[in-house]
């Protein structure tokens, strides 16, 4: 296989070698990175998407809001904590940890309890905030089971494939860092290029577009790839941890506890009932200056028990701070002494932990409120466009002039790349909007319903791949873009037919989340339509 693709220019300049690296590293990872970026961009709005995908909850949400406004009586915090304790003492006396979430920041809302069960699995239930009894699913209207917008969150960092998926995405993120750096080195005239756009010039236009979105959002792209790697960094790069702690589950437990919780007490084996929690909650609230979100009891029922009180971040606090940690005050259950205070926004450990927390906040845009989410959404779209335009540019360049990188197999490899481009770009977009269609069309009562929605997502993507191989590239592009435009533009119609809800109703009841999702999808549809018209004109010429 003595071909051009295998010839790293080892005698040309540094820049030429980097151009080679950028082209090939970029190409082979562009499809996966496009998927990670598009779904990651949608993940910015995972909550509005979940809201749209659970229409059965809209009435409940409105009722809860009305209830709160009328101030209907529910238990106060002391009462709620007592109910939570009573439930835990009756049902989970042997758990190593109890965690009670008494109320929202305003003192109303849900009452939830969590614990570690016998298998060290985290579990939880909701209690009725008016009676303290276990809440059962209300009869009448069954809510549809769905992963909602969390599908996009999960897919963008582990492809619904657990650790294997996490590693695949991690490798792609590393390849992206390499492609970014080699791309910058390749560009001689990075700022001049930025001000250059030559539309309707084929290859030049693709190059200009690729450069413009990349240069304009370069700091964001570096940041999002780097912070994404660091969030799961101890998985990808465990050497420094292994140096001090060795390997195995116990090493991991020791590492994590020393990082954030070095003074966690051990159980003493002497029994001691958990004291009344409200006095701890009240003192904790005063020390950290935040309303109480959760009360956590380690080793409940033991004399060595520790009580942690955690706070709620207010919206304005979250908007101002990169690190999304809340306040926390820990007490000894036996003596009532304060053992540790963490102020809101501070980290449990030192500078490295604070950096970790800030990088995680940066990646997941826990700060800055809605304007920042929109900025992330636009920068994410720019990153998605960077991946897509790069992949298209590769093949557009070679349609003009066959470079013969793969010897006799070149034509077949180009054909493969063309098909992968269509399926990775248009096909994935079809799968994403098809996932929303599935949400409305899969019957509500069906078993494993959330999995069915996912299966539609993957099936559509696979179908798009087959289609891209069967049809000629130009036709495949037009047909898939047409399907994408139709699915996007008809989504509001589908929603009206299946749930009776529509844009005007959403506007009238100020349901900005539903309205935003539908208008956003329609905007994607119009973009697809625009691309389709452009392709048709090209054929006509």
């Amino acid at each position: 296989m003595s071909t051009k693709a295998t010839k790293v220019p080892s005698q040309g300049g540094f820049r030429q070698a980097q151009a080679w690296l950028h082209t090939w590293c970029g190409l082979w990872f562009s499809w996966l990175l496009f998927a990670v970026f598009l779904t990651g961009t949608l993940a910015v709005f995972d909550e509005p998407i979940t809201h749209w995908m659970t229409p059965e909850h809209h009435a409940e949400e409105a009722a809860a809001a009305a209830k709160k406004e009328k101030g209907e009586p529910t238990g106060d915090r002391a009462q709620r904590l007592a109910w939570g304790m009573a439930y835990m003492a009756e049902h989970h006396p042997g758990a190593s940890m109890w965690e009670l979430w008494p109320s929202d920041a305003q003192g109303g809302g849900e009452l939830r309890v969590f614990w570690f069960d016998a298998n060290r699995q985290y579990a939880g239930v909701a209690l009725d905030p008016a009676t303290g009894k276990l809440l059962t699913e209300e009869g009448g209207h069954a809510a549809r089971a769905t992963l909602g917008g969390h599908h996009f969150v999960d897919f963008h960092y582990e492809l619904h494939a657990g650790t294997v998926g996490l590693w695949i995405v991690g490798i792609a993120a590393m390849a992206m860092l390499v492609a970014l750096v080699s791309g910058v080195i390749t560009h001689k005239r990075i700022f001049k290029d930025f001000f250059t756009f030559r539309p309707k010039k084929g290859q030049r236009s693709w190059l200009d577009a690729h450069n413009a979105v990349a240069v304009l959002t370069l700091p964001f792209q570096f940041m999002i790839a780097y912070t994404g790697l660091v969030i799961s960094g101890t998985t990808f790069m465990p050497a420094s941890k292994v140096l001090h702690y060795g390997t195995g589950p116990s090493a991991q437990v020791r590492f994590v506890s020393e990082l954030g919780d070095s003074d966690k007490p051990a159980a003493t084996g002497r029994a001691m009932p958990v004291p009344v929690l409200e006095s701890f909650a009240a003192r904790g609230q005063e020390r950290m200056g935040q309303p109480v979100r959760a009360v956590v009891i380690d080793h409940p029922g033991d004399a060595g028990a520790r009580i942690g009180v955690y706070g709620w971040n207010g919206d304005d606090e979250s908007a101002r701070r990169l690190s999304a940690t809340t306040g926390m005050v820990q007490f000894s259950a036996a003596t009532g002494e304060v053992q540790r205070v963490r102020l809101p926004g501070a980290a449990d450990g030192g500078a490295a932990m604070l950096a970790q927390s800030a990088m995680s906040g940066l990646h997941m845009v826990t700060f800055g409120g809605w304007p920042m989410k929109w900025l992330y959404f636009l920068c994410g779209l720019a990153g998605t466009a960077m991946m897509g335009s790069g992949a298209v540019l590769f093949i557009v360049k070679r349609r003009q002039k066959h470079l013969g990188e793969f010897g006799g197999a070149t034509a077949r490899v180009y054909r493969l790349i063309e098909a992968l481009n269509v399926a990775a770009i248009a096909g994935l977009a079809i799968a994403c909007v098809g996932y929303l269609w599935a949400n409305r069309l899969v019957p509500v009562g069906i078993g494993h319903r959330a999995d069915r929605e996912l299966q539609v997502f993957f099936a559509l993507w696979a179908l798009a791949l087959v289609h891209a191989f069967v049809r000629q590239p130009a036709r495949a592009w037009r047909e898939q873009l047409g399907a994408l435009a139709a699915l996007c533009l008809l989504l509001p119609v589908l929603n009206f037919v299946t749930t009776g809800d529509h844009l005007l109703a959403q506007l009238l009841r100020s349901d900005w989340e539903s309205l935003g999702v539908e208008l956003g999808v329609v905007a994607f549809g119009l973009a697809a339509l625009g691309a389709l018209r452009h392709l048709r004109r090209k054929v006509a010429r």
């Binding site: 300049g13 080679w20 990082l259």
Partner: protein, 100 residues
């Protein structure tokens, strides 16, 4: 660079360069993380975390180096020698400083 490099096919030489970038680069990044974990002024857990946080930048630079226009032996040596030195220093300093 010289005629001797062409005793291997271009595909093999490319494979070797990619391997240098992927595995040599990973080794260097890990070694740098180990070194930083030993010298950063913090407790062992914090220092280990800090070393990890820097390692991806080092990995990136290492891959860029592997595709610099230098001969293959130099590309490999430029990654593995510093890796051995950094890892050795990291291990030695951890012993001296009484790490964990």
């Amino acid at each position: 660079m010289n005629t001797r490099t062409s005793t291997f096919s271009p595909a093999l030489r490319l494979l070797s360069r990619v391997a240098a970038a992927v595995f040599g680069g990973y080794a260097l990044a890990s070694a740098a993380a180990v070194f930083l974990a030993a010298v950063l002024p913090a407790g062992p857990a914090e220092a280990a975390l800090g070393g990890m946080q820097f390692s991806f930048a080092i990995y990136t630079v290492a891959v860029i180096w592997a595709f610099a226009p230098v001969s293959l032996p130099r590309a490999w040596a430029g990654l593995l020698l510093p890796a051995v030195v950094l890892a050795g220093l990291g291990l030695a300093l951890r012993g001296a400083g009484g790490g964990a």
